[in-house]
Symmetry: none
Subunit: 200 residues, 4 copies
């Protein structure tokens, strides 16, 4: 059965999520996964390989969670879906799932392969930005810059919610999301402004 491998990966993620990467010892991991220490080495060459494979598993998980529902609705709906997915990934799976931040601090995320892999996984999202630019709707900027403007606020809020126990109301988040969405556009429609006035 291949579920020992899954058990080990799940336990690894849980330990990194709860205690941090520095506290990931193979003995502890074995105990957490409910296997013997030696067993880990049947499925993973060594600790580095385990982390490499976790990186890919985590990336797949994040991409899934982030892009969930991305195929339906208007551009604005798509955008806001992703934005809230980002905030909620962290809010929902509080304790035993890795965070984006933890993913990006895994050794090796900056390797060329991993970055290529990321681009592949997020191909649809990249296309979304490129199309918006081509249609003259979004600012004439590289995808990385647009992504930063659009989604980094959401990612950092998720981090604050989780690591620093902040809490935000749905309305606060919706308004923030709307600001990001409009920041992206060259000529934002004035409709959404209603949201702002209603909060006053």
């Amino acid at each position: 059965m291949d579920n020992k491998r899954e058990q080990i990966l799940a336990a690894t993620e849980k330990l990194i999520a709860t205690k941090g990467l520095h506290a990931l010892s193979m003995q502890l991991l074995a105990k957490e996964a409910g296997v013997a220490a030696g067993t880990i080495y049947r499925y993973f060459k060594d600790k580095d390989d385990l982390i490499l494979q976790l990186r890919n598993a985590a990336l797949a998980f994040f991409a899934d969670a982030m892009l969930e529902g991305f195929d339906q609705g208007s551009n604005e709906q798509k955008f806001k879906r992703i934005w809230f997915n980002l905030v909620n990934i962290e809010k929902l799976c509080k304790t035993d799932t890795m965070t984006f931040e933890q993913y990006f601090n895994l050794p090796g995320v900056d390797s060329a392969e991993q970055m290529a892999h990321e681009r592949e996984v997020f191909a649809d999202l990249i296309a979304f930005f490129e199309q918006g630019v081509a249609q003259g709707k979004f600012h004439q900027l590289r995808t990385e810059l647009l992504f930063a403007i659009a989604f980094e606020p959401a990612i950092s809020l998720a981090w604050k919610i989780r690591r620093r126990n902040f809490e935000f109301s749905q309305q606060e988040l919706e308004q923030t999301c709307d600001i990001c969405w409009r920041a992206l556009q060259v000529n934002p429609e004035t409709v959404s402004n209603q949201l702002e006035s209603s909060t006053k």
Copy 2:
């Protein structure tokens, strides 16, 4: 002399910046700082204490670097100064200074004391946002949300520049900064739009 303490802190930062926190051993640190291993324990209770104190030192450094020039000019100039400070902290001190990211991954950054300390250090910046909100210039949102919209894009770009070797032109960065500045405001002046049209 108290400069042994400084030597040790400086060496700690350098080692974390260049080799990473996981590679920070007390023997290596002693060698880098030019003191004996035992000496470290005269100035710091233990490794945790050393890191705690480094956290404060690093926070002071970041605050300085980030808020540099914050006392002069119009609100827009202040904003843009900070925004570029954030991007450049990382760009300039490439090798032996810690990054934001490394600071935020230090164990203990999420403690109540540390967060209180952060609020204190960034009091001026918080006041800047609160004043903007009070004057009806910025969106009616909590400081954390405004900060996320305004500066997280800059922080994440700095990270990409450093860790992933991205390069952005001054013009790209200025345009992005301008978008963030205008996103913050309820009724952005149309003046800055010239920047956008000039790139077309």
Copy 3:
């Protein structure tokens, strides 16, 4: 079939010969022998037992190789045949057969049983020496001493050829062999001296 046992023994010898005893792991052995790890334990009680049995197999192999051709010719021919067999065992089967040296370093070679076994296997050779002594041809010495004088030089040369990559010409070896042969005898015939003079 009993050839699983043979496969395992052959693989064991090959691994010891090529990688050394210290690198002999049961998993590697299983792979090399083309059987499952557990299977080894059907034929051998444990690793020690496997090595014990290999010792006997190797001893039989060495005795065969060393005594090959020992039943024909004059005493001098017999002697020289063995002497060259000793040198050549190592020279010929360079890679996947164990060496004398490896055999003698197997744990347990010094046990009483093993030594009794060796005496049995080399009974003919022992008889050869005893007969020579009885006939007054060889020096009046115990077999062990005569063996040392006669054959240890050959064994050590074989070792140097193999482990230290020495090379000796056929002529050099023949002259050395002749010296050993004559050293054994009380009154060596002067005939073989021609060899020496011919090299001058």
Copy 4:
């Protein structure tokens, strides 16, 4: 003090001598040497380095023991001195000193550096053989071959005495030594023959 290093080397030699190289574990060694496991690593980079250094220490010890008294007396006396030194090295230091055999089975003895080192250490002995050949006293053979004829019997007897608990009388050994000495020479003087006749 440098005597920790000596303690560790001595304990290493003792363990290899008594239990064999395969049983040399760093924990056991630490206990035997009366130091903590970590201490070993202050003096030796790793296990390989420890063994490398032991190799050199052992070589020095062997050379000393073997060449002791080599500077006095006639050629014959020199020869016999060495021959008996070889037999006795092992006889005297029964349990906790390494044997030649163990020395030669240490990993790395076959490296070019180690062999060069050996040649240097045994320079006087090599000169002894070369001079004998030049003077027409010894057979016209390379030093390695003469050494094999002359001393390998002694080395192997020492091994048998130690590992297999053989015992030889002084007279047996003297006669064997004499045979080796005469085997080396082109025209051995007949004087020493008296020894042989006296045993009859």
